[in-house]
Symmetry: C2
């Protein structure tokens, strides 16, 4: 089952077999067919290990993400995968759970040359470690990025997108608008909060601390808890901007459970346009991110980087989707 067995059976040298396998021109038709016969006879497939060791090419890409459960990431992954496969690469999906120990394992996979590059979507990744890694290996950031590092990224204009979302609420007549945000160590969280604040200020509306809620994890339950807190306030908001559809959908459900109506009693707008946002009741207004495209572009970028081509960061377009929840 090694190249030697094939060579012996075909009565040629290993070099010739290797040439046949790698479709080198320099091999006579007659020998080629005999080798090909031997290969299929023995059901031989070259060892990636041996090959990689020699060529240091694994055709593997690392994709780092905090959690596979968030539909936002799955769409991006689809884009990455399609693009990578088209260029002969496969992806190694790595869920970090925002756990630095796991991150370290995956980083080593790159340093060990098991993979040729990393696409990082993990916001909580150790900035310095990533930067250090990027000095020696191809790294691309997707969605989440480090403002002052030179690592290329692909993202949207989070601040503007949040501004647009909140402006939409204001234009629908709302003046008391709450924010359900995620952890502020995420860059997107800070950027979207900025957008929220700018929109409010621009229209002369007050920002009240109690209207800004920070959720602890990215699950529906966090959205439910958030809205319960907000609805208990003495001075209740009439609309909510949630930085993730997941929060928004949780909120939607909870409001309904409490016997209130969306958008009459309280309006909600989310962020991401995950597929489920259209299945919620009522359908969720949201900011669409071009997730599939983000995946495609980051895959292109990392593969370009690997092959030595220079790449530039990209900021893609978002889009306001007006549906029934506002």
């Amino acid at each position: 089952m090694t190249i030697h067995d094939v060579a012996k059976l075909a009565g040629v040298s290993v070099a010739t077999v290797s040439r046949v396998v790698n479709e080198n021109k320099r091999v006579a038709e007659k020998t080629r067919t005999r080798v090909e016969w031997a290969i299929s006879e023995l059901n031989y497939a070259p060892s990636v290990l041996g090959r990689n060791l020699r060529t240091s090419k694994s055709n593997l890409l690392l994709v780092l993400l905090p959690s596979i459960s968030n539909p936002f990431y799955t769409e991006i992954i689809n884009g990455i995968e399609d693009t990578a496969i088209a260029r002969g690469y496969n992806i190694l999906l790595c869920e970090t759970d925002s756990n630095p120990k796991r991150e370290a394992i995956y980083f080593n996979l790159l340093r060990n040359r098991l993979a040729e590059g990393i696409i990082s979507m993990d916001p909580s990744v150790n900035k310095n470690k990533l930067l250090e890694l990027a000095e020696s290996y191809p790294v691309v950031q997707c969605s989440e990025y480090d403002t002052e590092s030179p690592i290329p990224y692909v993202t949207i204009d989070n601040e503007q997108a949040a501004y647009d979302a909140v402006t939409h609420l204001i234009e629908s007549g709302h003046r008391k608008i709450a924010l359900i945000n995620s952890d502020e160590r995420f860059l997107y969280a800070r950027q979207r909060q900025n957008g929220y604040e700018k929109a409010m200020q621009k229209h002369g509306l007050p920002i009240r601390d109690e209207w800004v809620y920070n959720a602890e994890h990215l699950r529906f339950g966090a959205g439910q808890k958030a809205i319960r807190t907000l609805l208990q306030l003495h001075d209740r908001p009439s609309a909510v901007f949630a930085v993730s559809d997941v929060y928004a959908i949780g909120a939607l459900k909870e409001i309904h459970r409490l016997g209130k109506k969306v958008p009459e009693d309280i309006a909600i707008i989310g962020f991401d346009k995950i597929t489920f946002s259209d299945m919620a009741f009522p359908t969720l207004s949201t900011i669409a991110q071009p997730m599939y495209e983000m995946g495609c572009i980051s895959a292109e970028m990392i593969m370009d980087e690997i092959s030595g081509v220079n790449v530039n960061s990209r900021v893609l377009e978002h889009k306001l989707i007006k549906r029934d929840s506002t």
Copy 2:
């Protein structure tokens, strides 16, 4: 950055460095510290490639799944990943899109010894190819399996589960019950249809061909389309059993859009208990599969197989979850 560099810097042989790295007892304290110093000095990490070539161990598991977008799979993956990591393995997530060409690529990854085993969740996988692969390499099937092959699997009793779901509808007073099924080349689809038919027969209820709808893909839209078709029937069903929460949620949405009420006008029960099912309106009754556990067990099984331990197939418990849609 190779073991040789470390050896030179530490003034020892490569063998000694290897021993230190692999935590072999047989190395004097003094040398050990010097080697460790050299390692951190050079920021050395052993090459997986070189190591694997020598030991033919990659500590990588292949996970084959048709689509990453289905939340059903993501939960299983969580289980696999946690278990694998705990035993020092990493997983290579492979989305096949039910494309035989992609499957072939991933199978080769195994034959190439890049991965040590496969957990296949892909129902449409080429049975013969998989069987052939299983003769030489560790393979485990999760959720979907081949009835007559000897490849071990972990699953639930789909027929019984479907039987339970339909019986629940019958006991709620329904007599005209439709089935939204997926493609019949999936084993689970056939098994659940059997369960549906058995339950109907058991209670002396008629099974009408037009009440059995086969969806073409596993997205919300397919559920919406299905229910539209069913509602247009002359003799309309009063309840629907969908073999996937995804269909059920699509149906729920569409019924609501058409101005009808669940469960008054039509009751719905799904399958899987994906996290969304609790966010739908109304909340979806469903059959809970122990997805996380299925993932854990299949990971244990494949790692056992790899280390030569004999494994047995497992059939896990399901559970009927009664919520507002029935």
